[in-house]
């Protein structure tokens, strides 16, 4: 990868975001609201005061985990689309321990978090085994497992751990809830997410295992010829990425949602995939992208209240960013495009 290329890795997503926001503004105008007002409320809602900033961080936390989950797996060439299912399995285990086990407080939190990560890892391991030993398409398997996990969660909140007449589980007891982060509305799950991102970054780019894992992702045949244990790395990428998502699910339950309820974790898996792709599979960039999209969502609620523009505009903008940035990324790699670029440069010289 040459220098110009790495420049494109930043320029393309930024340009995609700008274009997507412009289209978003056109849609808002078409709905009869003022785009400038809407954008102002969007910004205020997301970053306007400390309280909103905390909400943004809080919303970003689960997205960071599923983004890292996607980053890690894709670096090894594994399309784990099951972040959502792994996230949910992690939260189910955490819910059981937090509400049923005879421990509370810090010990319970640690237990929940470990169980969540293990659960997410094992759930992903199902797909990993089928991929490594049966050569099966991991995308379909992981997506099917998402549906199974979501339905299993449904059983938990409508039956097994149902709390009274409402289809939801009982709440995590006060002592087992995560402490707040710097007095913000976000909990310590947010800094944990950032730390996990840094660890993933360090592992992928500064350790030999990480190098080998990326080598498997870039060219499996070459990695095999070089004597890397390809199967081990493939399987590991499933388990670790699943564990990251499961950890996120456990923390989301203990910190923010407190109960399992219909819609818990819905869409987080695919959101994570989108954000990882926009971030070009870079874990630290992934954190930034996740915070950005969380801000967009938090801000859009304020925007809806103030201007009447529906919050789903933010989903459209997010979707447009992914559509443009992936296409843009492919475009700058085209030989025709490179030639165009080079010629211009030569003229300039």
């Amino acid at each position: 990868m040459n220098k110009k290329h790495s420049g494109a890795l930043i320029i393309v997503p930024v340009l995609s975001i700008v274009i997507s926001f412009l289209i978003g503004c056109i849609i808002i105008a078409a709905l009869g609201a003022s785009p400038i007002d809407a954008m102002q409320y969007l910004w205020k809602g997301a970053f306007g005061n400390v309280r909103n900033l905390g909400t943004t961080f809080s919303r970003a936390t689960p997205l960071i985990f599923t983004t890292l989950c996607a980053c890690f797996a894709y670096r090894c060439g594994v399309f784990n689309l099951g972040g959502e299912g792994q996230f949910i399995i992690g939260s189910i285990l955490a819910c059981y321990i937090a509400t049923q086990a005879p421990v509370t407080g810090a010990a319970a939190i640690v237990l929940c978090v470990v169980a969540g990560a293990v659960g997410g890892g094992l759930w992903a391991a199902i797909a990993g085994l089928l991929k490594v030993y049966r050569g099966q398409n991991e995308m379909i398997i992981t997506i099917m497992l998402n549906y199974v996990a979501t339905l299993l969660m449904g059983v938990v909140y409508t039956n097994w751990l149902r709390d009274g007449s409402v289809p939801q589980t009982m709440a995590v007891p006060d002592e087992t809830q995560l402490p707040s982060f710097l007095g913000l509305r976000a909990t310590i799950a947010f800094p944990i997410a950032v730390v996990v991102g840094i660890v993933v970054f360090y592992f992928l780019f500064y350790t030999s295992s990480g190098f080998q894992l990326r080598a498997v992702g870039l060219n499996m045949t070459a990695a095999k010829v070089n004597g890397f244990n390809v199967k081990r790395y493939l399987f590991m990428s499933f388990v670790v990425s699943g564990a990251i998502a499961g950890l996120g699910g456990a923390l989301e339950l203990l910190g923010t949602q407190l109960r399992l309820i219909n819609g818990f974790g819905a869409g987080y898996g695919f959101d994570g995939v989108a954000m990882a792709l926009i971030a070009s599979l870079h874990p630290l960039a992934g954190i930034v992208v996740a915070i950005f999209f969380a801000a967009l969502r938090v801000g859009s609620t304020t925007m809806q209240t103030a201007t009447g523009v529906p919050t789903s505009v933010s989903d459209i903008i997010q979707a447009l960013v992914i559509v443009f940035s992936v296409a843009g990324m492919a475009m700058v790699k085209l030989p025709e495009f490179r030639n165009l670029f080079m010629r211009k440069e030569r003229k300039a010289v």
């Binding site: 059983v155 559509v323 992936v326 296409a327």
Partner: protein
């Protein structure tokens, strides 16, 4: 018990139909070397468009046509990005899966507001209703109590089989998916065929989505495609990339879906979610059993660049 089984068979046929459209969509795409995992998203758009047009016009058939058109439009984004810009197909399919349902959800919110009241459209009339037949025997219900879309699905399976096996054009089409460079040297317009495949794929995926709101359920809800686009991907693998195989796979998955609904109705001890898991678990089990014998088009998933020699 007798009515349980006959109802199960009837429901299997109904539930297989949307899967047949979606699987054939994927088949046409993969036969031209394009793995499109975005059909789930395209079906969502088709589903919403079909619902809205059939609601406004009062004609479900128009809804299906509109769904096909919307599917084509969305799939043209995929086509441009993967064929012309050579974007990775899997990645772009995912992008479509995120973009298209978001668009559908947004359009629904804007048009119907965010009220919780569900708007209902007319369902397509079955052939039995059209002909005014009163009989309620099993065979009459099996062959005549189906919407025109069901017959269309089965006709499409036959047409596809004949096209790929018996016609020169079909063989040329397959050549693009097997070995595009060789196809180009004998004068086949590789890029053209790939774009054509995206038009067919988009239309069929849109129809598959529209089926859900014009023939199956009177309402549109977000996520009503419920993974059928991905099950269709599995059906293409399971069916070994032939339309006959795909049909069998779809009937099997349709049966799982029907079984799930029937079991929910007669059971009240187990939580219903366990039955809802059946189609998804069946897909995993089927894929695990058939293993990884590669039988698909050889150039599937690979970008085609003209100037590469």
């Amino acid at each position: 018990m007798g009515s349980f089984i006959t109802n199960l068979i009837l429901a299997s046929i109904r539930m297989a139909s949307p899967l047949i459209f979606l699987s054939l969509a994927e088949l046409y795409s993969q036969r031209a070397g394009l793995v499109n995992i975005g059909i789930e998203g395209i079906a969502a758009i088709g589903s919403l468009t079909g619902f809205m047009v059939s609601l406004i016009s009062g004609n479900p058939l128009l809804g299906v046509l509109a769904g096909a058109l919307a599917g084509i439009l969305v799939n043209m984004i995929f086509a441009y990005a993967t064929i012309t810009l050579c974007a990775e197909q899997i990645v772009y399919g995912m992008a479509i899966n995120i973009f298209a349902p978001a668009l559908a959800a947004f359009a629904y919110r804007v048009y119907f507001g965010s009220g919780s009241e569900l708007v209902q459209a007319n369902l397509m009339v079955t052939l039995k209703g059209l002909l005014g037949i009163k009989s309620d025997s099993f065979l009459v219900n099996l062959f005549l109590d189906q919407t025109p879309m069901v017959y269309f699905a089965y006709i499409l399976v036959i047409v596809t089989a004949v096209y790929f096996r018996r016609t020169k054009s079909g063989l040329n089409y397959k050549a693009v998916g097997e070995y595009p460079k060789a196809a180009a040297t004998i004068g086949i317009n590789v890029i053209g065929v790939k774009y054509l495949s995206c038009v067919i794929c988009g239309a069929l995926a849109g129809i598959g989505g529209a089926y859900l709101t014009t023939c199956y359920s009177k309402t549109y809800v977000d996520g009503n495609v419920a993974g059928r686009g991905f099950i269709a991907l599995a059906a293409v693998i399971f069916g070994r990339w032939s339309s006959g195989g795909v049909l069998i796979a779809c009937l099997f998955f349709g049966f799982c879906d029907a079984l799930q609904i029937r079991l929910q109705l007669i059971n009240n001890t187990l939580p219903y979610q366990f039955f809802q898991m059946i189609p998804y678990v069946a897909t995993i089990v089927v894929l695990a059993l058939i293993g990884a014998k590669k039988a698909g088009p050889k150039a599937s998933g690979q970008p085609y660049r003209k100037e590469e020699r």
